[in-house]
């Protein structure tokens, strides 16, 4: 049973078709990367999957519910419950410590729980940095806080927008390793990226151009290897 289904989804801005009749189905536990040149519709796609925007036509079915016609406030609720977001620019609130940034997501979702937030940080290897401010953390550490925040409410889909775009190679590897572990724990991961190496570690890769899916590549054959290659 697919956790996410896009059926004939189009998004039109004036005369521009940002997305043109997209059909896509993602199963629970999948790891999908979305690639494509600038202007191919990646951002629009992530906005729609992330419940921050609705398509002009077509249907988006998330966890069995059609969200394509939902109101803004309902979308907010659905996003909070089902989607964990990771940003290229981390977007941590600079006056809150790492653990507080994680707790913020709990706070908006249900109930802040410092213990749980600390455990989430431990998972990304940042327990000892929990009480530092973002300005005291390196880029990689900030991104790990961002991931911990995305995971804290156990979302059904982890949605990354160029999550390694601002990281050096070493940190990129750490983050990808975390994704790999999460995948093995059964988390559904969708990542938009420019970076072919990051795109290659997924099970499946789609390539967008001019709002259409021009390639849909099954990488399950190379899935384990890709990681090994990269790790080597």
């Amino acid at each position: 049973m697919p956790i996410l289904e896009l059926k004939n989804v189009s998004k039109i801005y004036g005369s521009l078709k940002a997305l043109n009749d997209i059909n896509l189905s993602v199963n629970a536990g999948d790891w999908l990367s979305i690639m494509g040149p600038s202007g191919s519709g990646k951002t629009t796609m992530i906005n729609i999957i992330g419940c921050m925007d609705t398509p002009s036509t077509g249907n988006v079915i998330l966890d069995g519910v059609d969200i394509s016609k939902e109101s803004q406030s309902n979308l907010t609720r659905i996003r909070r419950d089902k989607i964990g977001l990771i940003f290229q620019q981390f977007h941590l609130i600079n006056y809150l410590t790492a653990v507080e940034n994680v707790m913020l997501a709990q706070y908006y979702h249900s109930m802040p729980d410092e213990q749980e937030a600390l455990e989430a940080l431990e998972k990304v290897g940042l327990k000892e940095r929990a009480y530092h401010l973002p300005s005291q953390l390196s880029g990689g550490e900030q991104q790990r806080v961002c991931i911990a925040r995305a995971l804290i409410n156990s979302p059904q889909i982890l949605l990354g927008d160029e999550p390694t775009g601002n990281l050096d190679e070493e940190n990129e590897k750490v983050v990808v390793d975390i994704f790999r572990r999460l995948h093995s724990e059964g988390v559904t991961i969708i990542i938009v990226t420019h970076d072919p190496e990051v795109g290659d570690v997924a099970q499946r890769k789609i390539i967008l151009e001019h709002g259409r899916v021009i390639q849909d590549i099954d990488q399950r054959a190379t899935f384990g290897e890709a990681l090994k290659l990269k790790g080597a």
Partner: protein, 397 residues
């Protein structure tokens, strides 16, 4: 327990946001405090103006004249009762006068026995050459008698109860002299300590302490008229005269229309001036605070979009901004109230040379007003952000 946790996180969010953005917040608190200072300061001054300027208007002199309604003068008992009726804190000056006809070089003059200190309070506009003390003479008198400061002059007159008799031409000069020195007459040498210039009738009098006059004529204290300078507007003074004449039928109080009417008009205009200025300054100050706050909040657009992306409902984001606004407004407002008092006090000391009454009600009013401004200023610009999709948090910018 669960709610408790949530409330704790809420407080944590607000205080963290306020404390860790300290440098920015100083700007905001400063803006609010300046606004609150001006508000509480100007309002304090405005409330104090009638009192303070009213006192200044007392420099025009006595505005209430009390005369005895019968033949008998006003005794000390009456004076105390009148003072109580008026209310001692309202009295700027209170000078009883007793007039006595005397002769100097066989020419008649009027000697006014009074309380010279009180006369000074009543009529600060008198110009005195020499000192303000026993005995002062009017400039007219000085010219007629050709007296200068430090000169001695001799006064003669009839004691109280004695028969005043004009110098009879039938008597010889020698006889006149003996008559003048008889038991019914007095004679005394006085020294000119001050010469009075006023441009008014006072220049024709000789002023001495009431006690000296009473000793000379050998009588108890008795005033022919009392001049009072009282802090009151026309209607208050009108009430006062009615009260006095009702409570003490032996007295006849009269308000000096020229001063009371004019004071009401001029003071009214000055009050209106300060009010209008206060209102304009306040409006402008509040708008300034508002724009400053707006600018401060606008820069948090991204942060709000992020919170929304994390699943925050508008209501929650709003309540955070509200909380911050309340805290900021409270701190700034409270700071401003006390600075404002200081400001009003300085102005009052500089202009009027007196302290100022603090309006306690201003503390809550100022704080509430500035909390309101801050909250409105924080929420208005954010409302627009609310309408924007959280998607701006992604790559854009």
């Amino acid at each position: 327990m669960a709610n408790n946790n949530k409330r704790k996180m809420y407080l944590r969010l607000i205080t963290r946001s306020l404390i860790r953005r300290a440098s920015r917040l100083i700007t905001a608190v400063l803006a609010i405090a300046i606004g609150a200072t001006i508000l509480s300061g100007l309002v304090t001054i405005y409330y104090d103006i009638p009192e303070q300027l009213g006192r200044e208007f007392r420099s025009y002199g006595a505005n209430l004249i009390i005369m005895p309604s019968g033949e008998n003068g006003i005794n000390e008992n009456d004076i105390n009762r009148v003072k109580n009726l008026i209310g001692r804190e309202k009295i700027v000056g209170f000078a009883p006068y007793r007039y006595q006809t005397i002769k100097i070089n066989e020419q008649p003059f009027l000697l006014a026995g009074t309380d010279l200190e009180q006369v000074k309070n009543n009529s600060p506009f008198w110009y005195i050459e020499g000192d303000w003390q026993n005995v002062m003479i009017g400039r007219e008198v000085a010219e007629v008698l050709n007296l200068n400061l430090g000169d001695d002059f001799k006064i003669q007159g009839v004691k109280f109860g004695g028969q005043a008799e004009a110098s009879n031409q039938n008597y010889s000069a020698e006889e006149n002299k003996t008559r003048d020195f008889g038991s019914q007459y007095f004679s005394e040498k006085l020294n000119v300590k001050g010469i009075i210039t006023t441009g008014g009738a006072e220049e024709g009098f000789i002023f001495a302490d009431m006690k000296i006059l009473n000793d000379l004529i050998e009588d108890n204290f008795k005033a022919d008229v009392i001049e009072c300078s009282i802090i009151a507007n026309a209607s208050e003074l009108e009430n006062l005269t009615q009260q006095i004449s009702k409570a003490m039928p032996n007295l006849e109080p009269r308000a000096v229309r020229r001063l009371t009417q004019s004071q009401d008009i001029v003071l009214g205009k000055l009050e209106a001036l300060v009010l209008l200025v206060t209102v304009i300054v306040l409006i402008i100050t509040m708008i300034s605070v508002y724009t400053t706050m707006t600018a401060m909040v606008a820069e948090r657009k991204k942060e709000i979009a992020l919170k929304k992306a994390l699943g925050a409902e508008n209501r929650l984001v709003m309540s955070e901004l509200l909380g911050e606004g309340i805290l900021l407004g409270f701190v700034g407002g409270a700071l401003g109230v006390f600075l404002g008092y200081e400001f009003a006090l300085r102005v009052s000391l500089n202009v009027f040379g007196r302290g100022i009454n603090f309006q306690w009600a201003l503390i809550p009013v100022t704080i509430i007003v500035f909390i309101a401004i801050t909250v409105i200023a924080s929420i208005m610009p954010v409302r627009k952000v609310m309408e924007i999709h959280p998607a701006i948090i992604l790559k854009g910018e």
